[in-house]
């Protein structure tokens, strides 16, 4: 570990001096853009409030039953202080994590094998390709029949949703590795196992993280749908329950929570990916 730290040191000396002067100008631009972006969001919320306030009805769409932003804020405040929220959150997070992790392990392992071996590509991939066009949501009835507990069936739906983006991106990443790098590694004395650890896995890592990030998004999408149909507890269930109980403000609170959770977890995956593949960003910098 100490060696790694030593290696990182010299890099700090290279920051060119002109960077500090350029940076103040950059900061002003960034500030202006940020304030514009925030103003735009505020404007949208204002329009929403107005539409609801006017109870606008256009025939094909009506805002009569839509909760106002103020009501939603109240409902959110209430939910934040209620014991129900941690319960729903924990249920959803557990399902997403278990489904996603199972998909990540399966997808990456299968993808690494399929990407390297023509025989596996021709045997394992065709049945998976046949299943791929079926949206994960369409699996819900069958999943309920297949799994004794509704909990497991929801995890399965999440797994199916996340699996394909992870698998296909991994296969693509492995196949896109420069064959000259593989030949070079062999020439330098690399055995089959070390080839995976030192060349194939790092070479495919950027594509794998793209797949994981997309997979995390689809995992949430599938979970919410599954929860609305088969769930007890969970954010999706909460949102649907709010509709049946006519707590309309809570519907929007649920929607917002779903959006934030999905975005947050995808962002987390991206961050982890960037941290683990620092060399990947450099390629763009140079050109």
């Amino acid at each position: 570990m100490a060696v790694t730290l030593d290696l990182a040191k010299p890099r700090t000396h290279e920051v060119p001096k002109r960077a500090s002067t350029a940076r103040s100008g950059q900061n002003a631009t960034i500030l202006r853009r940020r304030s514009l972006q925030i103003a735009s969001i505020a404007l949208c919320i204002g329009v929403w409030q107005l539409l609801v306030h006017a109870r606008l009805s256009l025939g094909i769409i009506t805002f009569a039953n839509v909760p106002a932003p103020v009501d939603v804020a109240h409902a959110l405040w209430g939910l934040l202080h209620s014991p129900k929220l941690p319960m729903h959150l924990a249920a959803s997070l557990w399902r997403v994590l278990s489904g996603f992790c199972a998909a990540a392990v399966t997808g990456v392992a299968l993808g690494l094998a399929i990407g390297r071996h023509r025989l596996l590509e021709d045997t394992i991939l065709p049945p998976l390709e046949a299943l791929r066009p079926i949206p994960a949501v369409a699996w819900i009835p069958l999943a309920i029949l297949m799994f004794p507990s509704s909990e497991l069936s929801m995890v399965f739906i999440t797994f199916i949703g996340a699996l394909f983006p992870i698998l296909l991106n991994t296969v693509h990443g492995v196949e896109a590795i420069d064959p000259r790098l593989v030949a070079t590694a062999r020439g330098l004395g690399t055995g089959p196992l070390a080839l995976y650890a030192d060349v194939i896995l790092p070479g495919a890592a950027p594509a794998i993280f793209t797949g994981l990030s997309i997979g995390m998004g689809t995992a949430w999408f599938c979970l919410i749908t599954a929860e609305m149909i088969a769930g007890q507890y969970g954010i999706g269930y909460f949102t649907w329950e709010s509709y049946t109980l006519q707590n309309y403000a809570d519907i929007v609170v649920g929607m917002a929570l779903i959006g934030m959770l999905g975005m947050g977890s995808s962002l987390l995956i991206k961050r982890i990916g960037l941290a683990l593949t620092p060399w990947y960003r450099l390629r763009g910098e140079k050109r």
């Binding site: 040191k9 010299p10 070079t184 020439g187 060349v199 450099l282």
Partner: protein, 265 residues
């Protein structure tokens, strides 16, 4: 320059390379053509051999075959009398476009061969740093390849091959993509390394000046399927400098090579 690391006792001797009636076929199964046909060649241990030939004549195939990446259709390749059938770290190959691992820092790229031998991280990084110094890249160990220029990348590539103490160094137009000044610096560096390391060099190029500047011997290949057209001694004294390239003897030999190459194409 500190060359202790490669002059240490464990340094193996340079190897002889022998091609025996070597024929190599390339291309897809339905359209296979012979890139090399019945090539016989003996390279004594420690020799600096340059291979010249018209572009597309099979020079690269020759190197890939010696490296063990391409199988012979007929005949065989022997290194120190042992038949070549697969790649081996003691035969180091350097390409025109670098093949460094973009995800490894420079020092870990150079140390890669030692990692594959199971040498621990501190020891292999220490050796890699010494080799980086030998190729003039002291202090660049912690950079990623994306941060380096083309000439620097080729230096790293050479260091990465040298760490395996190759008995044969195979170079496939390694400096062709560099600008003239950098190319001459790299050529001088390579000669300097060759004088310190006991290794046989097979250097493929289409640049007559480069072959005359570097080589002890030049083998001229014909168009595909390649055969040996000429086998020339390069008698110029070492160390060679820019001045040597203006010597009348040098120019006379360049003229001879040009004529041969014109006939070959």
């Amino acid at each position: 320059m500190n060359a202790d690391v490669i002059e240490a006792g464990a340094q193996p001797r340079a190897a002889t390379v022998g091609l025996r009636a070597l024929t190599v076929d390339v291309g897809p199964p339905h359209a296979r053509v012979s890139a090399l046909r019945d090539v016989d060649l003996d390279v004594p241990a420690g020799q600096f051999l340059c291979v010249l030939g018209p572009s597309g004549c099979g020079k690269s195939t020759l190197l890939a075959a010696i490296a063990g990446h391409v199988a012979a259709a007929h005949g065989q390749i022997e290194v120190d009398g042992l038949r070549v059938d697969r790649p081996h770290p003691e035969r180091g190959l350097v390409f025109q476009q670098h093949t460094l691992f973009p995800w490894k820092r420079v020092v870990d790229n150079v140390a890669f061969g030692l990692k594959m031998k199971g040498i621990d991280v501190a020891a292999r990084r220490a050796q890699a740093s010494e080799l980086l110094e030998l190729v003039g890249l002291r202090g660049y160990g912690s950079h990623y390849p994306a941060h380096l220029s083309g000439g620097m990348l080729q230096r790293v590539e050479i260091a990465r091959v040298l760490i395996n103490r190759p008995r044969v160094l195979l170079m496939d137009e390694p400096f062709a993509a560099l600008d003239a000044q950098t190319r001459r610096n790299m050529q001088t560096l390579l000669l300097d390394i060759w004088s310190k390391v006991q290794t046989t060099v097979v250097f493929v190029t289409h640049d007559i000046d480069e072959a005359l500047f570097l080589g002890e011997r030049i083998v001229m290949l014909s168009r595909q399927p390649a055969r040996i057209l000429a086998d020339l001694e390069v008698p110029f004294a070492r160390p060679r400098t820019d001045e040597s390239t203006l010597d009348p003897a040098f120019i006379a030999m360049k003229r001879q090579c040009l004529a041969l190459l014109r006939d070959a194409a």
